[in-house]
Amino acid sequence: MLVFLRRRIISGALPLLAVVLGVFFLARLTGDPANLYLPLSATPEMRAEFAARNGFDQPVAVQFLDYLSQIVRLDFGESLRTAQPAAQAVLQAFPATLQLAGATMAIAVTAAVVVGSLAAYRPNSLADRFAGLLSSASASVPDFWFAIMGVLVFAVTLNWLPTSGTDGMGAWVLPIATLLIRPFGVLVQVVRGSMVSALSAPYTRVARSKGADEKRVIFVHALRNAAAPALTVAGDLAVGLVNGAVVVETIFGWPGIGKLMIDSILQRDFAVLQAAVLLTAVTIFALNILIDACYALLDARVRQGVAT
């Protein structure tokens, strides 16, 4: 188990490293970093002073070491807009995104397991057709448009829900619904597919021959087998949720990391953007490790390195 996890951590760290390097090179080697950090109206003196203060006149290698030590100390400089440390701004916004994403994934996984299992158990049933419709919709409806249509119908026309903000339960409905369509649509298909093969596997027949009732056959014997592929996909979808979070937070004024990123791009606040991107990368890295650990717990063949 430990060997397995160590291997996954090493291979998972590679993308993380790529992001750290990518941010550095994009920031330093594609022109004057002062262009990135300072407002466009900055005078040449301000630029020179800025470069000297931040060591941008040093050789690249020295700059890189500086950059690494900054990352380790969580020192990304100050936000241009608020003058607070960039790391602080990002960490403040982080929980809001995490809550939104967590709630969405929890609902998506639970609903997908129930609907997908029912769809697999009774092909062509109502649940099956519902699942098919949703998953094709989730692949073709742009999330920003879905969100705006939601606002148009439920906030503007019917006045049931607020258009933005985080106050009250109602404020959660549209953001979660928007974020939900894609993970739910994909997951339900994955759960359905793996449940169909699990339910037709000989071991479900054996379970029935032992007198297990259908509930036990579906939710214990079959689901435990179907869980592993669904979990992998759920991990990928959780990573992809970052895309949706940027859109949803922008539309609904949700004070999370996605909105922070877009705001800092539009207001050219590189310190905050850099901190937000790196924190997102670290979160994704941690999430991937977590998924791998769960995967290994679910299936002994994985953690013992048996080819299946």
Binding site: L26, S136, A139, S140, W145, N243, I262
Partner: protein, 327 residues
């Protein structure tokens, strides 16, 4: 499955497709497409959008930008103001229909080159990696993993910050983000092909790696890759419109569907149609592309193709019988 397959005995299996002249394929595929009403409709839909993208701006370009402060926020579905305003007008009195047509070009100008570039680079790279195996394969796959393990918007956000957003940078970002998709598919298929006999045979005759890939591997993996590209077209289009919607993609005065939704969002309370129609255009285009892609997946797979022919014939036979009974 083979019993019910009227086409399987033609020998058009994947392992022989490389040797058979690929020219035999298009007319039959076209005939199959005509038989499937839904796929046909999807193809027509895509053609119409493409025609708008190519010809529309020449015909309507002026209309899309002409402001008319006497015709502000006209509601849709009425011909009182002429055909140009059948989908209403925006807050500056510009025709929504004309703007939709012009925006189609920008959307295609981003999506088509991005898909083509990632398709060509990713496929060639993937076939090369899969054919040679070894370190070339592992390094390539690692690179693909790294790119794919991060949300595409995150990549776009950083790149679009450093370089200012334009059609060219958007194409570049989207192409880079999607190369791994083709890389993975092409590698898997060509690695599998490499072990097949006809590739061995070519190698025995002294054919070189490059020419084997070109003559034998590429024609065989192409149908799969084209299906992937059709699906990917949706993805690229959705990403572009998201970026434009967020204000970090296409910039005004250029137009794209995503941008139009963003502009319409300000006036949701008074003029809902400005945001609704561009979104509908996106949905219709992506639905058409996915429909066509799933049809293509069946049509290019010899083991599955019978599904497209058998049930249709049966359905038509029952319909004819019902008709005769009615008379």
């Amino acid at each position: 499955m083979t019993n019910g397959d009227p086409l399987s005995e033609t020998g058009d299996r994947p392992d022989q497709a490389g040797a058979a002249p690929p020219a035999a394929r298009p007319p039959r595929l076209f005939a199959l497409l005509l038989k499937d009403r839904v796929a046909c409709l999807a193809a027509l839909m895509l053609l119409a959008v493409a025609a708008c993208a190519v010809a529309g701006p020449f015909l309507l370009g002026d209309l899309a930008t002409r402001q008319n402060l006497h015709a502000v926020d006209l509601p849709p579905f009425t011909l009182d103001n002429g055909w140009a305003f059948v989908l209403g007008s925006d807050s500056l009195g510009r025709s929504v229909a004309a703007r939709l047509v012009v925006a189609a070009r920008t959307t295609f100008a981003v999506a088509v080159p991005a898909v083509l570039a990632s398709f060509v680079v990713g496929s060639a790279w993937g076939m090369w990696a899969g054919y040679h195996r070894g370190w070339r394969e592992s390094v390539s796959m690692r690179i693909a993993d790294v790119v794919l393990s991060f949300p595409s918007l995150l990549l776009a956000v950083v790149v679009l910050y450093v370089f200012s957003p334009s059609v060219a940078t958007l194409v570049l970002v989207l192409a880079i983000a999607r190369v791994p998709v083709y890389l993975r598919t092409a590698r898997a298929e060509s690695a599998e092909l490499r072990s097949r006999l006809f590739v061995d045979a070519a190698r025995t005759f002294g054919a070189r790696g490059g020419s084997i890939i070109r003559r034998h591997v590429a024609p065989t993996v192409m149908p799969t890759l084209i299906t992937v590209a059709t699906l990917d077209f949706c993805f690229v289009m959705l990403t572009e419109s998201s970026l434009s919607f967020l204000g970090i993609g296409i910039q005004p005065p250029d137009l794209s569907w995503g941008l139009m939704v963003a502009q319409g969002r300000q006036e949701l309370q008074t003029a809902w149609w400005i945001a609704v129609f561009p979104g509908l255009a996106i949905v219709m285009t992506t639905v058409s592309a996915t429909t066509l892609a799933s049809w293509a997946r069946l049509a290019t797979d010899p083991a599955q193709r019978w599904r497209l022919t058998v049930p249709r014939g049966r359905a038509r036979a029952t319909a004819r019988r019902a008709e005769e009974a009615g008379r």
